[in-house]
Symmetry: C2
Subunit: 220 residues, 2 copies
DNA sequence: AATATTTTTTAGGTTTGTCTAAATTTTATA
DNA sequence: TATAAAATTTAGACAAACCTAAAAAATATT
């Protein structure tokens, strides 16, 4: 089955919101997609008739099993293109998302699978988000917030919570990146800021607020 | 300026037809785009108001200078993606065109220029058609039909005239490809069929009709 | 040159995805 | 629990890109 760009954007948005809040509603979806609530209702009806959505007027909605499957296909496309843009075309981290928004709607399955192979079957995109495989399986990674780490704890940056330009700016400036090795040297009680060592080289001081936005894989 | 997928497809189709016939008309464009003449008229008006087309009702139309510029941007995108698909993702020759039809509408200039760099600034796509550069310049290649070559003449396959599946089948079977070196061993007067050597290895007999569809660069 | 044929355009309709404004239903508050 | 507020849906409209059927213009034929 092939879906329109609009349909795909709705499915994807609903999927992402469902990971964050327990009940997605018309208002929330309207504000994420920057459309009016009436437009949402129209599309909900359409997705319902296509069996991508469980929806009862006034009673809320959520993706059906099929809707979920479709969402993961779209997310797979998006993240593989992001990986391609960053890894092969040397775009920076912050630039890839927007371009992938267009590329993700190119829906030829064979193309995406060959792209996956060409890239060496990557498991995570440049933001540290997992890339679903051909069957829609995603590799869950155990990660905790950097702010939760104790002194002497070590780990690897896996993901940044928000992708806003403001935080990107700061992180890039700190010479931190997805994959960077972090060691916590000291935690200051006064403001809970931390001194950390990045990749065994640079020592930096970061605020509690920043540490709250950085996920760390606590691996070995 | 950004144009819709439909607008881009019209511009591209008009451009290509203008290379082949001296006056493109509504009927011809309708049949190439598989739409009705009335739809063509609608779009012609729209492209006229956007100054991409010189158009007078009943008097015919042709791309304006700006329309031409836009066409070359679209063709650049299409052919770069074709090159990527064939070269990097290892798709065959015949498969790439259709996928590139979707990819060509992803219009981020920076993306296309970085793709160009990544691919090593290729001059010709997998069908042997020239890829316009950033300024819309295309490298013209001197080529003649294989059927026009005399005995002992040598050259390199640059392009196949028609891209139909029927001819693709035959050419692939002959182990001929864009770039193959050809030497004419003999031309039979009876049916004008030829015996040729491909890449200094295989010797094949090909019909006049096939030779009429293969372009050869007569280089050095 | 008059008529027939073909091409092109116009007029009016459809679908998709959006909108505004009004009506309805649910939820919150006094 | 009655009423106010917020969320949701319905009704009707609009632009883009297509369609069919009919009218108008250009071209070909006798």
């Amino acid at each position: 089955m092939k879906y329109s760009v609009s349909e795909e954007n709705y499915i994807k948005a609903i999927y992402h919101l469902q990971q964050e809040v327990d009940r997605v509603n018309t208002m929330l979806l309207a504000s994420t997609l920057e459309t009016k609530p009436a437009s949402i209702t129209d599309m909900l009806k359409k997705l319902k008739t296509k069996r991508l959505l469980d929806y009862k007027p006034y009673y809320g909605f959520k993706l059906s099993a099929e809707g979920n499957r479709v969402a993961l296909v779209i997310i797979r496309r998006h993240r593989l293109w992001e990986f391609f843009l960053a890894e092969k075309l040397k775009f920076s981290w912050e630039e890839v998302h927007e371009m992938a928004e267009d590329l993700e709607h190119v829906s030829n399955k064979k193309l995406i699978d060959k792209l996956d192979a060409f890239l060496g079957y990557p498991k995570f995109d440049p933001h540290g988000d997992p890339i679903p495989d051909q069957d829609g399986k995603i590799q869950k990674e155990e990660h905790v917030l950097l702010s939760e780490l104790k002194v002497k704890a070590q780990g690897r940056v896996t993901k940044i919570k928000s992708h806003s330009t403001k935080i990107m700016d700061l992180i890039a400036h700190q010479q931190m990146n997805i994959g960077s090795k972090i060691t916590v040297k000291k935690v200051f009680e006064f403001d809970e800021s931390m001194e950390i060592v990045i990749d065994g080289k640079t020592t930096k001081n970061i605020s509690k607020q920043l540490a709250n936005n950085i996920f760390i894989a606590n691996d070995k």
